[in-house]
Symmetry: C2
Subunit: 343 residues, 2 copies
């Protein structure tokens, strides 16, 4: 590797403001990544070495119709950041503004990677002791079996390249572990994944697998994946809230809660979604990382690092190699795709 990787970052829309994103960029730049910040230069302020600012004050981060806003606002910071990546001025995208705008502009402008039917949104889930990659977390509400098959290979390539897991165990999310359990899509995908060359397919997992370390990559359609992701977040929040209330119910338990706090703080840090850098859009010719708008400098630093690592470790090339080895490359055109074809 000779040239450093360059990551284009849209800073508009981040809850903690452009300067906080710039702090994350500075930390990533200290690690050897070049960063281009797109946003209001006046609010970004002075930046560290390795970080450049492109003044792009127009924001569509709060637009209720991101797809329309992307089409109508070529001067928006997210659109300009995406254009810079598409033009080769940067290698990958990070956007902390509106997820909708980031997805819409990536989908419109980046082409599908060679042989990929549909891009998918992947998210590292920080389960204590055994994090895993969940995809699709919401990009494709309705899928066909061959899409699930490709998600399996795309997830394996990412987990290997960026997660550093050799021969990642890949599973289909279903309502039972047997090969016959699931929707017709899942059953068909299962049958073709069982013998997929080069893939460590471990079969179906149930929702319980969230938290048991049964797989490194869990594959679902975007509807089920999105529901599962949010159920996870919702039930964890409800449980933590109930534990907190219980800890406030008496002097005895208040004291107990106080003594436990440092240990729980460690746990909270381990489970922090900022450490993972956000969601990753896989299957396009360029990688896009979408940190949550609420992230601080750490989350943006990690997002930039994930994007850079994905480029350096060649997620795209590995994905293609895996799809090719498994005979799972898209051959005919995919009429249902919402993303422009590369050809």
């Amino acid at each position: 590797m000779t040239d450093p990787v360059t990551v284009a970052v849209d800073v508009n829309g981040a809850d903690h403001g452009p300067a906080e994103v710039a702090r994350g960029a500075a930390r990533a730049a200290a690690g050897g990544v070049r960063v281009l910040l797109f946003g209001p230069a006046a609010e970004i302020g002075p930046v560290a070495e390795g970080v450049s600012v492109i003044d792009a004050p127009v924001s569509i981060a709060k637009d209720p119709d991101p797809a329309r806003a992307v089409r109508r606002t070529p001067e928006a910071s997210i659109v300009r950041a995406v254009a810079a990546v598409a033009a080769g001025e940067a290698d990958a995208l990070v956007s902390g503004g509106s997820t909708g705008a980031a997805l819409a502009s990536s989908l419109f402008t980046f082409k599908r990677a060679r042989g990929v039917h549909r891009p998918a949104l992947a998210l590292m889930i920080p389960v204590p002791g055994h994090p895993f990659l969940l995809l699709d977390a919401g990009a494709n509400v309705e899928v066909r079996p061959e899409h699930l098959v490709q998600f399996a290979h795309m997830g394996a390539a990412f987990m290997e390249a960026v997660g550093g897991v050799a021969s990642p165990r890949v599973a289909l999310l279903s309502n039972g572990t047997e090969a016959t359990k699931g929707t017709e899509n899942v059953v068909i995908a299962h049958a073709s994944l069982v013998d997929a060359p080069g893939l460590n397919f471990v079969g179906n997992v149930e929702g319980f697998a969230i938290g048991t370390g049964a797989a490194d990559v869990i594959v679902a359609d975007g509807f089920t994946g999105n529901v599962a992701l949010k159920v996870m977040e919702g039930s964890s929040a409800a449980l933590l809230g109930a534990v907190r209330s219980a800890a406030m119910s008496s002097w005895r338990s208040k004291l107990g809660g106080m003594l436990l706090r440092p240990a729980l703080r460690g746990l909270r840090n381990e489970l922090s979604p900022e450490e993972q850098g956000g969601a990753v859009l896989l299957g396009l010719r360029k990688l896009a990382v979408v940190p949550h708008g609420s992230f601080g400098a750490l989350g943006f630093q990690r997002a930039i690092e994930v994007a850079a690592r994905g480029v350096r470790e060649d997620v795209a090339g590995r994905t293609h190699a895996r799809l090719q080895a498994a005979g799972a490359l898209r051959r005919a055109s995919d009429p249902a795709a919402s993303v422009p074809d590369e050809s």
Copy 2:
């Protein structure tokens, strides 16, 4: 109400043995329910007033193919208990053995309720402060929009009759709250639920709603519902395990955990699935309650009470009235149904 309600209970397969089920039955009988226990009389032992034993020692609770076992084993306790309900000797079924055998025998023998397309498995989820009913939790992996519409009415009728919630808020589980979000099935079901007379439809909820009290009844297809249910259980278990580990990480946090324990025990009891009695199969002409095999006397007592309350409060009649008022009764035959039609 003159006659007491009679509940047929299959005791074979319960993890804690027939005598433990009989203890739960005794407590329910003390509350005025008549109970018929089907199982090995020798192991059940002497029973309380209001409880009768029908000696049915043959168990198919461990059979790997429950549907086949049900068809081939008329002398099995679950098959005899179901037959007693179908024959009018009892009003509802409780089975703590194999869920598969309980479902298969109920589906084979009870007919669909008037006007119902498909039965659904419903489960009360004991979220702290705001429990809700989730259906379908796994009976129907693939559904049509009219099935989701009926589940909404069936769930509302149950929540009103058994949960005691007036005008329960009903929601569709989706990947976004907007009416346009979700699979085609969800979008179509949403459109027809918006104006459904007599139904308090509150729109789509996301997975976050698990734990925010956004709805009293959450409707999904059986695949998504099953995944959501198990993700909830899996992520709660992972989180509690991590909190427990954190509480063992130092002397300070061990002491904190000890002081907190009584308050957390209260929470554990509130969240205990035994209090809910188990899953309920709705939409058949007879009600079937399926407690978890691991339940003790309390769980079986509650299961019997839920079944009795469902009969007394006329879940079936209320379901029919709601479907009729909403114009959602099945009219043509439902070719895809796996359950014998009543006609």
